[in-house]
Amino acid sequence: MSLKRNILIRVSVVYLAMVVFAIAILGKMFYVQLIEKDKWKEAGENSISYKTIEPNRGNIYSAEGRLLAVSVPYYEIRMDMRSEAFTREVFDRNVDSLAIRLSRLFNDRHWTVYKRNLVKAREKGDRYYLVKRHVSYSQLQELRDFPIFRLGRYKGGTIFVQQNQRILPHRELAARTIGYVMQGDYGSVVGIEGAYDEDLSGIQGYRLMQKIPDGNWMPVSDRNEVEPCDGFDVVTTIDIDLQDVAENALLTQLMKHEADHGSVVVMEVKTGKVRAIANLGMNEEGVYTENFNYAIGESTEPGSTFKLASALSLLEDGLVEPDDKVDVGDGYIVYGNHRLEDSGDEGLGVITFQEAFEKSSNVGISKLIVENYEKRPSDFVDRLYRLGLNQKLGLEIKGEGAPDIKYTDSPLWSKISLPMMSIGYEVRQTPLQVLTFYNAIANNGEMVKPLFVEEVRYHGKVIRRYDKTVLNHKICSQETLEKIRPMLEGVVERGSAKNLRNSYYPIAGKTGTSQIADANHGYTKGRYQASFAGYFPSDDPRYSCIVVISSPSQSVYYGNLVAGPIFREITDRIYIQDLNMQKPGTHFLAENTGAPYSKSGYKRELESALKYLDIPYTSNEHESEWVKTMSTEESVVLRRSDISSLYVPDVKDMGARDAVFLLENLGLKTEINGRGTVRSQHPPAGTILRKGDRITLKMSITEG
């Protein structure tokens, strides 16, 4: 046999062997396709799927950048005991130290218990063994360094599953307006969370999950197949300090008068920015909580605050001048079979239109309206429509109550409709709609839409900015404005809200006390709504505010007494904080006995404040950024305050804002009880600082 032939035979043998190999592959392929078909088809359908990973939801911030709503990640620690490269040696060598460190970190079970469970899971070959639920981010960081865990998914079978929980750091404050999003069939979206859900929620990521025999789903690989994209942050217009004041003042009044519910809204006049919005209602246990957004959602008969619309109508149509006389006689008048009464015991006789407004005379206002519009009631309703009072504000937040002002051709229109509407009955408005109207008067006739959100940001970068939206450039003529504003001021100067008068800043506004109509019983005596709507300072309006309290106790139900104090507390607070508003020469402080008391805090800011107020201070501290204060006869002494990142600092006597800033910067989570200055802190100063720890501050003023 020739060499050539020999080689060729060998090549042919090899070739045939390769053909056999190919046939084996094809055979197996067809075997899988035809014989094992059902098995793999089923496996393909059931065993694997893409699970969505929720992105980090964006935060909601107050106007000054404090967190109103934040998603806190929690982790579930699991182990795949049969991971490909997770060897017996690795497990045996490290299980003791892992158990000890787990026990030390969570401090809940003895390490032998941890070990026993781990060993049991390992023996069982558990592919998704639950080590611990609800692990915080800082704990997770430590866990990553633990024996076995540090080897990762492949060699250590480590699985960290993230879950997010939404928390409101300020708890009840503006809770309803911040809102929430509830998923599911009966889910609902509320407040800013709901209105800006699309921005906040981000883009879902995907992770490949594999079904394992015990029915659990387990990630296939170490990382996500498609990374989620975080949601945008939403910066609201809410001023959390003011919100705090509003919420507390409202709570105090509600408790005092055992009212059913109430709401307060504070708005910036020029821009319509809502600085505070508090809604409290009594729940079944008799506790007041933010359970419904009354300010936005509850449309009721406003009562006397609506007289502003009637007065404006009379003036704008040139029918009556403020000095024109009206006879209110003995304080009652009868329309059809309905008797209207003025509050107070005796009739005022002949008074001016302005006086009738200031004293909130039902008789006076309704009489003037009836006299002037009886023949053409549609003129009056048209005027109200032109003011936009019959239209929703078009808020982004869902659930705005619809206003109701019926037209003369309505089947419900009756003979007494005109006088009733003139004093705020047979019409419906939400507190926010009433406030928007009052704000327009304060804003020189320009009606702006209430603004809840200033900016949408992504990791600090501004994505969108919201400016004021003008609903009506001029709701009435300048002359009318100039006539009506003194009337609103008169309400506080000498009218129904005299109790709000003060010598520091002028307030303009209108009280409202209305009986609440019950669907079954008509107007029942004893169910009232007390309100006050207004703005201040009336000579240069900065803020408008409305307070509405529903069903206060029977003995005291007048708007000025129930709603007024809340208004006053809020305006006081704004006035004290806003130096621009204070006129030179006004001195709040009583007789100057030595240097005034000062909060501890950030040195540079304290110094500039003391300088501005011309208060003498001495400082021998040049290095420390944070100082403690002590007031002596002559001056405020600034002393060094030791802030290091190793120990919990002393924040006693600091304002909440400085204290929170300082503590959160050091990585602590603060929880504030009350307001004012810090009275005590837990853990105390000097404790070794552990990032992520919670610190509770008890403030000088606490409720209850």
Partner: protein, 411 residues
């Protein structure tokens, strides 16, 4: 048509190369969907264009290599093998850790990596072909021939083994087959196999004793799972799901869903994806046929060539490619345990494409050399037989005569 003059060698092999390149483009585009989303933010054309570039590069390399007279490869084999061994040593010492297998080496100055073991495989085949081709007359020489062969094979296998068991196994098998074709005496072959098994056993023993983690654990688990059929066979199971989904007839390009689930659908499991999209007749049967055809055409070169070196080199290289392809396919259908072998010419990847193209270029160079020899021979024969009456049977007789002349030449 001018460009076609550069296309030398067997046109059928060229056809196979072109068909496989088209398959490569289609299936890489399909199977990189999820990779495109995780790596290059959804630019699904990124990998398509990259693969297209690799294919153009590959074709260029093929054309360059086929222009080189194949006898030069014999001389090149020694520096190539030495270079490959150096690279393997470097890789072993400081390889880049990709999927915990130290089998990749970064190319200095670029962001690219390549597997020196791929290069070593071809360099070793070149060297074996050289030694076998030069020593057909003294194959019984144990020291002078067999030790050289077994030394080179052992060195390469031992260097590849720690990081890549399956490539080492393929190199060992292909070498064994080449020795068999090269007429190494049976007793030496037995010794060779014995040495191989003993070496592997020693290595496993040593590494278990040293308790090295990582790759060895992976192999152990993979083989264990393959044998017992128990445990987490995620990749293999998902590949079977893909094959079942594919069915007999094509579903069309881009219809694969398993590409989202299978790890490395563009390399290790591309065969499963091809079946899922093109069915078992076109995607499976025809694709396997392409590789068998390639091997068959190389067999024809062996039959025609006068040079034993050319015969061994062509068949060795071709066998290396086809055997690797079948291992890849065998893994995809579940015939073999999971390994990281790519499907030559089809899988995504630059370095595998580069070395495969070098091999194909060499095969085509030999094929062209054979054609030239045949043409010259035919001229000579024709001149010689001009007076003869058998001119009509020239073609048929030419082959027979050529074989005889080779026979004589070898003697």
């Amino acid at each position: 048509m001018n460009a076609l003059k550069y296309i030398r060698g067997d046109r059928v092999i060229w056809t196979v190369i072109i068909i496989l390149s088209v398959v490569s483009l289609l299936s890489v585009y399909s199977s990189t969907g999820s990779l495109a989303y995780t790596k290059v933010s959804g630019d699904t054309f990124y990998y398509l264009f990259r693969q297209f570039k690799y294919i153009i590069l590959g074709l260029t390399v093929i054309i360059l290599f086929q222009m080189i007279p194949y006898r030069i490869f014999s001389k090149l084999s020694i520096p190539f093998l030495l270079g490959a061994i150096v690279l393997l040593v470097i890789t072993l010492i400081k390889g880049q850790d990709i999927n915990e297998a130290n089998r990749w080496l970064a190319i200095p100055g670029t962001s690219n990596t390549f597997q020196p073991s791929e290069f070593a495989k071809f360099a070793l085949i070149m060297y074996l072909a050289r030694v076998l081709g030069n020593n057909q007359n003294n194959l019984q020489d144990f020291k002078g021939v067999f030790l050289k062969l077994i030394g080179a094979i052992s060195l390469v296998c031992i260097l590849i083994l720690p990081s890549n068991l399956s490539t080492a196994a393929i190199v060992f098998t292909v070498s064994f087959i080449l020795l068999f074709i090269g007429r190494i005496p049976t007793r030496y072959l037995a010794l060779f196999v014995g040495t191989g098994i003993a070496g592997l056993a020693l290595f496993l023993l040593l590494s278990t004793a040293m308790s090295r983690e990582g790759r060895i654990t992976t192999w152990k688990n993979r083989i264990e799972r393959y044998v017992t059929g128990k445990g987490d066979n995620f990749q293999a199971d998902q590949a079977k799901v893909a094959i079942v989904r594919g069915g007999i007839l094509p579903n069309g390009p881009g219809t694969s869903t398993q590409r989202m689930l299978l790890p490395h659908p563009y390399s290790d499991f591309i065969f499963a994806i091809i079946i899922e999209e093109y069915g078992s007749i076109i995607g499976g049967l025809l694709l396997i046929f392409m590789y068998l055809w390639l091997l068959f055409r190389t067999g024809l070169i062996v039959r025609r060539t006068k040079s034993t070196f050319g015969a061994f080199l062509a068949f060795g290289l071709s066998l290396g490619l086809v055997f690797q392809a079948f291992v890849n396919m065998g893994v995809a259908v579940g015939l073999l345990p999971v390994t990281g072998q790519t499907l030559p010419l089809v899988s995504m990847g630059g370095s595998s494409m580069l070395f495969t193209s070098m091999a194909l270029g060499m095969i085509l160079s030999i094929s062209w050399g054979v054609e030239k020899e045949m043409a010259a021979q035919a001229d000579d024969e024709a001149a010689e037989k001009e007076n003869s009456e058998q001119v009509a049977a020239e073609q048929v007789a030419g082959q027979d005569l050529m074989e005889e002349s080779v026979h004589e030449g070898d003697k």
